[in-house]
């Protein structure tokens, strides 16, 4: 993001405690207007708690929230400006689809014809113009969630909150709806926060991801930043897959047995205990150390096992240098064919210096 959008929502030094248990610790966030933000993390990390604090459903214990320049920290829900969609859809079962969508529009002095037009517009927007007179129970899960979205958007909220909106749906519907929600959000330009524990969902939908763990923010960044340059071992581990080895850091290098690897990672203390992490797809295959002349960071390895996963091969390698630990590598179909890789082959792998991630052990 080169030109940063104007700031819309700020969270400052926010804490949340449930009795003795501190669920959120010193959260600071700045969300730009029109951004699509995902709160991502394992269950119990505090992502939903943070969303509920933003919504005013479970107010924070300390700290402030500003929305559109206004301090909303202690405003009740009804005085804030957002629409919300829950995992359960929370559609009113005894009202038709049209009345559900119209719920926030009625009782506001709008003329009836106006409301009707707006409901039709919203139903068209979510792609369900024909379903207005049906009851929620007559719709599929995906359709219900789209109605819930239309209902939340009806009042033109400045902020859209999505609490695991896709978790209750089938895998296929989920992927489809993922795309649709993102499209819709881009079209309307509404600032959106989505809570999810599904990294794929977060990576594919978010402009920026807030990775959370144990009530703290681990990293804030674009999907590529989060994936390519994880700020902590937790992030590297939680998003995507990594091979991990514990060792020490010395002078820009980490030592694995007799092999010493170069890394481009900065800011690691000299002599610190570290964990080296390499993603399976970053491992480069070579027939032998000799065949990879000129390459640095080479490890001799034996190819133990190969799984065909359609678009690539997932390979299990073992190296004396790593002891008994498996090294997982994803090799392209091309590479496997070119090098004629087979289980049992003695080969070499390259761990490119710019892809070798080094994380200091946490105290």
């Amino acid at each position: 993001m080169s030109n940063k959008p104007e700031s819309y929502l700020q969270i400052k030094e926010l804490w949340k405690a449930f009795g003795e248990f501190v669920a959120l610790k010193d959260i600071n966030l700045d969300i730009g207007k029109g951004e699509f933000i995902c709160f991502l993390g394992p269950s119990g990390c505090g992502k939903t708690t943070l969303l509920r604090a933003v919504a005013g459903l479970d107010p924070q214990t300390r700290g402030q929230i500003f929305q559109g320049g206004q301090d909303v920290s202690n405003l009740p829900t009804s005085k804030r400006d957002y629409g919300i969609v829950f995992q359960s859809y929370a559609l009113f079962p005894n009202l038709t689809v049209a009345r559900n969508v119209a719920f926030g529009l009625e009782n506001t002095g709008r003329p009836k014809a106006d409301i009707k037009a707006r409901v039709a517009e919203l139903l068209a927007l979510v792609g369900l113009p024909e379903q207005a007179e049906k009851y929620p129970a007559q719709l599929s899960g995906g359709q219900q969630q789209r109605i819930a979205l239309a209902r939340a958007l009806a009042i033109n909220p400045g902020l859209l909150l999505l609490d695991e909106p896709l978790s209750a749906l089938d895998a296929k519907v989920r992927v489809h709806l993922r795309h649709e929600i993102k499209e819709l959000q881009r079209k309307l330009g509404v600032t959106t926060i989505m809570v999810t524990h599904d990294q794929e969902e977060a990576l594919s939908m978010a402009d920026r991801i807030v990775v959370m763990n144990h009530g703290t923010v681990e990293q804030i960044g674009t999907p590529t930043e989060i994936y390519r340059a994880p700020a902590s071992l937790f992030v590297a581990d939680f998003i995507g897959e990594t091979n991990k080895v514990a060792t020490t850091y010395q002078n820009g290098r980490v030592t694995l047995g007799s092999v010493s690897l170069t890394t481009k990672m900065q800011g690691v203390a000299e002599g610190a205990a570290v964990t080296v992490a390499v993603r399976p797809e970053d491992v480069v295959p070579h027939l032998s150390t000799a065949a990879a002349a000129g390459a640095a960071n080479l490890l001799p390895a034996r190819l133990m096992d190969m799984e065909f996963l359609g678009s690539y091969w997932r390979c299990h390698l073992q190296s004396d240098i790593l002891g008994g630990q498996d090294l997982i590598a994803n090799f392209s179909i091309n590479a496997v064919r070119r090098l004629d890789l087979k289980p049992g082959l003695e080969m070499a792998v390259e761990l490119p210096a710019e892809r070798v991630l080094v994380f200091a052990e946490r105290a």
Binding site: V22, P76, T77, A90, N94, G104, A137, R151, I155
Partner: protein, 667 residues
């Protein structure tokens, strides 16, 4: 990593919006209702039970003049009494209304004599009456003998456990406890046994007529608990047609109470056990069968453990119903005293309210105990249910099905039989001499008890209880279940809502006398009106309605409120548009429950009705008391027709409303 300790400072609290204020106001109103209609009266009763009234002779001094008008030495009343032994200690204990004639201390007193009398209190509180004027002074007052004869000492109030001490040292009173416990135990064993057989047949056999049996099992709910007593009198009483069956034993007493108790507690126990049996898991039975367990062994290792919570719960509910019931022992108890009767006798018969309060407190103990056990058991019962259970499907077994049919048939005959006897007795000219049929017993205006007006009053009470009660109960449950924040407040509220289940009707009624009949209470105006009857009935039956409403509300998505609020809609709009329509079946159930119970209840209202607000159920009691048993049976049957009609109407209305408003339940 950041510091993990919460920084110091005040907690963030949200500003109140209009919604929040309205919610809190609503909750306050309903909590206030429960406090005024339940907590305060119970407190008044409890404190009353510790109050004693006695004449304290140490507090009075007398002087008597001679004929010349010269006064002799002052003597305390206590000293005089000690010399003359006029009053025993027992005579000095009294109730709040007690009066003690001062002249009794002066054996030579004559109102025609010219002697003069002086008296005064030796301490601040020494009340006495001169005629109707209350005096309370430490100054000497002089009276001529004609005035002196109109002087009565008044008792002073003291607080202590004296009443309880007296209660437990009175063998007649104490035997009531034994009687009550005995009756309740025997009835519980019989009812739970009978109900288990019935429920087992309904759930575990494929016998015919299940629908009919279910209907019959619920019939006793539609009549006052004393109606089976009347039927039993016709069958086995002094002029009963089957008197010889008892072989010389009298139906008036424990036998009658037990049989009647089985009748009126049967539906309650049957419902609870049936629910427990209906959640059986087919897979457990398949497992038992694959292990080649015998039917008998399967019954004891699978069925009984699975239903144990239901059985325990049913036992405690039955025990509580019997021990707190008043109507049945009143009608058929004869000389056999039980606790509930003692309260009635103390209050209505002897006007000894303090002792009535003592018995009430004692009656509260088993009821509260049963209530606590029942709540614990209910919690466990719920956790037995799992979404993956496969419902039990009974298989055909001709022999067993026939056995079930016989058992249910016998119980149905017992229930329908007693009601038919009542009906027959109500229609007969003059039992047992003239058995020709007539409607003269329905001419209630010819007998005491309130006449047809009592019946109309009952209808009024039932309708008002159903309408106001449902509104209060449902709104209250909504506040407990769906309002965010105010955790402590909701906890107290929930406790208050559960409390009525543990309070026997007699106790509630007496508590109302103490609280509302106090002239110092600004709510005193409702005493003796229809309002107090409605309030007491709603409160008496509050808990079951509350639980029904809670169950329905728990099934509603908890995220409706946040959604509505994010759409900037007030909560009451959601309540009216969504919550109430979705819960309509439960709301209708609550209202019919309140209606039926308001028609049949005797225990609380028997202390609270006035001549203008006589009720049909109380009329049954009073007519029976006066010996007009046939009209009593006729009035009891009127209650039955009304409740049966109301149930039918409720069923039709429910169906119609459901079809109209619940079409969304479609799939």
């Amino acid at each position: 990593m950041s510091d993990t300790n919460l920084p110091s400072g005040p907690n963030v609290t949200l500003k109140l919006d209009r919604d929040g204020i309205i919610k809190r106001a609503f909750m306050a109103v309903i909590a206030l209702y429960l406090i005024v209609a339940l907590a305060l009266p119970l407190y008044a009763m409890l404190s009353k039970s510790f109050v004693t009234y006695s004449f304290d002779l140490d507090r009075y001094e007398f002087q008597v003049s001679d004929d010349a008008g010269t006064f002799g030495p002052a003597q305390s009343a206590a000293a005089i009494n000690e010399q003359l032994a006029v009053f025993s200690d027992g005579q000095l204990r009294t109730s709040s209304d007690g009066r003690l004639s001062a002249t009794a201390l002066f054996p030579d007193f004559s109102f025609r004599s010219s002697l003069k009398y002086r008296m005064r209190g030796t301490e601040e509180d020494a009340p006495y009456l001169v005629g109707l004027d209350l005096q309370n002074t430490t100054e000497w007052q002089e009276y001529d003998s004609n005035t002196f004869r109109r002087i009565n000492l008044r008792p002073v109030k003291s607080v202590g456990v004296q009443n309880y001490f007296e209660y437990f040292s009175n063998p007649a009173m104490f035997s009531s406890i034994q009687n009550s416990v005995f009756i309740a135990l025997v009835s519980t064993v019989l009812t739970v046994g009978a109900a288990f057989g019935f429920a087992y047949a309904l759930n575990r056999s494929v016998m015919r007529f299940k629908g009919f049996f279910k209907l019959v099992a619920m019939m006793p709910i539609l009549v006052p608990s004393l109606l089976p007593g009347i039927a039993l009198i016709y069958l086995f009483g002094n002029q009963g047609m089957l008197k010889s069956v008892l072989m010389g034993h009298s139906i008036y007493g424990p036998i009658g109470i037990v049989i009647g108790s089985v009748f009126f507690t049967f539906p309650h126990a049957m419902l609870i056990i049936s629910t427990a049996l209906s959640i059986a898991d087919q897979r457990q039975y398949e497992a038992a069968e694959s292990l080649r367990a015998s039917r008998w062994r399967t019954f004891w290792t699978v069925t009984i453990p699975g239903a144990r919570y239901g059985l325990i719960s049913a036992a405690f509910v039955t025990f509580t119903l019997v021990i707190t019931d008043f109507g049945l022992p009143k009608v058929i108890g004869g000389q056999y005293n039980v606790l509930a009767i003692d309260i009635y006798k103390q209050v209505i018969g002897q006007q000894n309210f303090e002792m009535g309060a003592v018995v009430s407190v004692i009656l509260l103990i088993p009821a509260v105990l049963a209530f606590i056990v029942d709540r614990q058991v209910q919690k466990k019962q719920v956790s037995l249910l799992s979404a993956r259970s496969v419902p039990y499907q009974p298989k055909v077994n001709k022999q067993f099905d026939m056995l079930c049919l016989l058992w249910c048939g016998a119980m149905a005959m017992f229930i329908v039989g007693l009601i038919l006897v009542c009906q027959y007795a109500a229609l007969v000219q003059f039992w047992p001499y003239d058995l020709s049929l007539s409607l003269k017993n329905y001419d209630f205006n010819r007998t005491d008890g309130g006449g047809w007006a009592a019946y109309t009053n009952s209808i009024k009470l039932a309708l008002m209880t159903a309408v106001f009660g449902t509104v209060i109960v449902f709104t209250g449950a909504y506040m407990v279940e769906k309002i965010d924040g105010l955790k402590a407040g909701r906890g107290v509220f929930q406790f208050l809502a559960m409390l009525p289940m543990a309070v026997p009707g007699m106790v509630l009624g007496l508590a109302y006398i103490f609280f509302f009949n106090d002239p110092a209470n600004p709510l005193n105006a409702i005493y003796g009106t229809m309002t107090i009857l409605v309030v007491s009935t709603v409160t008496h039956f509050y808990t079951v309605g509350h639980l029904t409403a809670l169950t329905a509300l728990k099934q509603i998505d908890g995220e409706f409120e946040p959604v509505a609020s994010s759409l900037r809609q007030p909560f009451y709009r959601l309540f009216v548009r969504v919550t109430v329509p979705v819960c309509l079946p439960a709301i209708l159930d609550i209202s019919i429950y309140l209606f039926v119970n308001a028609m049949t209840t005797v225990s609380a209202v028997v202390f609270l009705y006035s001549t203008h607000t006589a009720l049909a159920s109380v009329a049954v009691l009073n007519m029976d008391d006066a010996g007009d048993i046939a009209p009593a049976a006729a009035m009891g049957m009127m209650i039955f027709y009304t409740n049966a009609g109301a149930r039918l109407l409720h069923m039709l209305a429910s169906r119609r409303i459901l079809r109209k408003t619940q079409s969304w339940r479609g799939r």
